[in-house]
Amino acid sequence: MSRLEAKKPPLFISEPLAEDVVGQSLSLLSGILKSCYGPTGRLKQLHNGVGGYVCTTSQSSALLGRLSVSQPVVRVLTASVQNHVSRFSDCGLFTAILCCSLVENFKSLNIAPCTVIKISRHLLSLCLDYLKSEACGCRVSVDFSSVETLLGLVRSVLSSKPACMLHKREVDHLAVLILKAFMFTVPCHGETNAALGKCIIVPMKRRRVMNSMVLPGLLIETPEIQWAKPLTVRRTHSDVIKIALFCASMAGDCLFPEEGTVTVHHGISLEMAELNQLLNVGKQLVNDEVGLVVCQKVIHPALKQYLKENRVMTVDRAGLSLMEPLSQMTGSKPIASIHALSPSCYGTLKDVRIESFASKHFVHLIPNDTVVCSLILCNRNETAWDELKRACETAEHVLQLIVKEPLALLGGGCTETHLASYIRHKTCYLPPSSFKGMGCSRTQYQLVADGFCRSLESVASSLNHDDGEVLTDMVYGHCWFVPSGFPSVHNWTDLVSKCGCGINGNAENLSWRLLQGQFGCATLQGCPKEPSVKTADRLTLDSFVAKCSGLQVALETANLILDLSYVVEDQN
């Protein structure tokens, strides 16, 4: 019996952001996420002290979903980032780090929150207008006739997940596989209601990554013993294999209703009756020249034996998740009851094979039209495999988003620094009428804009985990990383070779400044230019849609948090 406790009164906190506890939680979360960001990020191990599954990850979807946060303010942030990740799969860490950084910077300004919110909304509209304009210097358009940009996108996604433990060759191999799998899912014929197919990931743990491959069609795991080699499957006279797909149970178990009663007289065996019906179904299938029977649940052994004698292949225990892709792939309708067999619900397949990888055996169903494909994903151990699966799903989602909006943004921190220098440049030249409209002064606007730019720059500099310096150049506004171990010299040209995204080399005469330095400098920022060479090899790219949405979500959530004046918490 549980003890009755007096209900605790709700906790009422006013001005939550002024509390130290909240500031500490925010900076703790910010520190955790910043240290995960990027290809050289550090991993986090999520450990339940009682035992069980251990997760080693650096991805926001895994981290934020499993962390238990008690601070209400921080929970608003994590919920918002998780919503963003559920829609776009990418740029979760970017959103979270930017949001934490915005909250910290805006909180430290001595300006009323409502003014800060108005100014930051104006800044966001400036950013988004710039990003959506043609003259945007950090935007790359994706050309579907060449695979380079698409490969670059997939490679950037894969290589930014260090917990997968992939080296360069493996990244390239997997990027090609993922792109191939994506191509399989794109329908060949342009119909009005064309939809992308599905890519099923087949786990293969404890193998080398280079053993991964992509196969058109579906793989269903099966125990080895049943199949005679070579495999001959019955074909119809038009040389296709007819397939019957059952989603009902064919095990001959009698389904008794939940309400009401069923009374069976003595001497009657319902199981025999069911078995007779199953065998009738088998006869029907044989008569209809069906070559393969796939059942979601279990098939009765007697029926299996009967079908085998009549050269009809059976696969059972396929599972619910395969039903939808199977019916999409073969054009068959899953039969819901053994009495409801009708010839119009069969589907067709081009071929059926037995494949074996490692010690697992699969039935490989190859359709006429590859709209479903299987990606056999291998990795060395369980945790690395989980991380790789998430990374592959993210890459696939990024490719799907590209179909809608064929744009990409430069990665490696360059978009953030480019945007920051653009905003710094723009805010020097704003007309006084815009300040009046917002009800703030020019100084207030510039303070908030400075905070905003510093947040963007801190996101870019959190890509650096190795104690070096982070620079930005004064011409293009891109981000340059200096390796550690050199004393702080002012002649940076000797130490930098390429900018973060890879598009700018050190050939020209550029001048740099420290990214996190103090801004006593009176030099006005010129408008950052577009890079001269837009197509270079091995660019680091980010998804345009995901990053724009991340920017927006980060700013709106920061505004929401700054606007909180009371927190009422029910402690029961």
């Binding site: 008794f256 009401g260 069923v262 007289h265 009657i268 899953p334 819901a336 409801a340 979500v553």
Partner: protein, 449 residues
């Protein structure tokens, strides 16, 4: 095979098989019957069996399952169709309960999937959807609640407050003549008035049914004081005529209805006249349902002095608040009410009424104060001084273009607040009980005596 309260008896295997076949065939036949009647979409409140889904797919019928009760009720109301139950022999007859839809498609919003159906409506309501977006779920719920509040407010837009409604509110014994019965009949004829005369209801002549008369406080200490004023802004005329304002001040003595004393009409009329004589009256725009909602202009119309005391008795306003009366947002209602209550309080001789009036007037200012809290430092004081200045000098009020609020809603709000305050002030003891209180319907309680 069986249903609630039904027993299914199997006495031979052949019959068992036949029964199962029959179930399947009947489902199939039903679906082909539906298809024959050109039914393409089924909406179901429960989850259908897999066999049913299979047959619907076979016959090209789409199914949406697990609709909630509210959705079913809404669809019933829009289309006028009641749920279809294919039982018994009418399963193969004409299907009468069908509705037509112009389109039906799946819709992906954010990361959730929806079905988008375009029903053809048989009632005046055209179905449409409003999609709200926000970064977090909680914010969305708040936005949805705010929208519902806005709809409720819009429904009040065409409500009026008649004088007679207030009369009927309280029952008391005094039978003073109510000239305004006739007036109220006049008030029924619609919201527009072409008179340029101002009409004032003299509260003192309302009669005892009207809570709006002054009670002379007889000084019983045990009586808690709650004088509640009714204040209304009356608009008449349309845009072309000069606008007139009618101000009605009255007192309501909420508590001692049984102790209703004789009203003192003279005193009250003096007060009202005094207020009336103030030459600065602010009129606010009468919002006509058909007119442009954006126009906000404010004129000052001095009281017409044609009415004499006699006419007070005979004239009355058509209604306290006419349909569609609005004021600009930002604290105007509160500051105006505050100003007139203060003004009224100054005219009175009784100290208790004055004190209470001043308390109420100052309390009203808390609303605009908190509205201006988030802007710059002393903007409330500036605004307050501007409005009071304008009122005192008969000048037009400083207007803003920010929005409008309904006077009817504000009126109800003030009345509710004053009722609530009265009730709270009348409580003299709060008793704590251990057991949760039961409602009246629970007659049998297992408590031990």
């Amino acid at each position: 095979l069986s249903g609630p309260g039904v027993e299914f008896v199997v006495d031979s295997e052949g019959r068992y098989e036949a029964s199962q076949h029959w179930i399947t065939r009947r489902t199939g036949a039903l679906m082909s019957h539906l298809q024959g009647n050109n039914v393409r979409l089924l909406l179901s409140s429960v989850k259908q069996e897999e066999e049913v889904i299979y047959y619907t797919k076979l016959h090209g019928i789409s199914v949406v399952e697990c609709l909630s009760e509210e959705e079913i009720a809404l669809i019933q109301e829009i289309t006028g169709v009641s749920p279809y139950t294919p039982f018994g022999d009418n399963a193969y007859g004409e299907i009468s309960e069908t509705a037509a839809a112009t389109f039906c498609q799946p819709l992906l919003l954010g990361s959730k999937r929806y079905v988008h159906v375009g029903f053809t409506s048989v009632c005046a309501f055209q179905p449409h959807c409003l999609i709200l977006c926000a970064p977090v779920d909680g914010v969305n719920e708040q936005h949805a609640a705010a929208l519902e509040g806005a709809f409720t407010m819009l429904q009040q837009l065409f409500k009026t407050v008649d004088q007679r409604e207030e009369c009927k509110a309280e029952a008391a014994q005094k039978q003073l003549v109510i000239e305004n019965i006739s007036c109220n009949q006049v008030s029924e004829c619609g919201a527009h008035r072409d008179e340029t005369e101002t009409q004032i209801i003299d509260p003192g002549l309302q009669g005892s049914e009207n809570p709006a008369y002054v009670q002379t406080y007889l000084g019983t200490p045990s009586n808690p004081i709650s004088h509640i004023k009714e204040f209304s802004i009356h608009f008449s005329g349309d845009v072309q005529k000069p606008r007139a304002e009618c101000e009605h001040l009255g007192n309501v003595h909420e508590n001692d209805r049984s102790d209703a004393r004789a009203a003192n009409p003279k005193k009250d009329s003096a007060a009202v006249l005094a207020a009336r004589n103030s030459s600065s009256v602010t009129a606010c725009e009468h919002l006509d349902a058909g007119k442009d909602l954006e126009k906000t202009s404010c004129d000052i119309v001095p009281f017409k002095h044609e009415d004499s005391c006699v006419s007070i008795a005979q004239n009355c306003s058509s209604s306290l608040i006419e349909a569609g009366s609005v004021l600009p947002v930002g604290g105007y209602f509160e500051i105006l009410l505050h100003y007139y209550i203060r003004y009224y309080a100054k005219q009175l001789q009784q100290s208790e009424v004055t004190v209470v009036s001043n308390v109420v007037a100052d309390a009203l200012l808390s609303i605009p104060k908190s509205l201006y809290r988030t802007t710059e430092q002393n903007s409330f004081t500036k605004f307050y001084l501007k409005v009071i200045n304008a009122l005192q000098k008969n000048q037009p009020l400083p207007m803003n273009e920010r929005g409008l609020e309904l006077v009817y809603c504000k009126y109800q709000l003030v009345i509710s607040v004053l009722h609530c305050v009265t009730e709270l002030l009348s409580i003299d003891l709060i008793l704590g009980v251990k057991r949760p209180l039961q409602k009246n319907e629970d007659c049998d309680s297992e408590d031990d005596f």
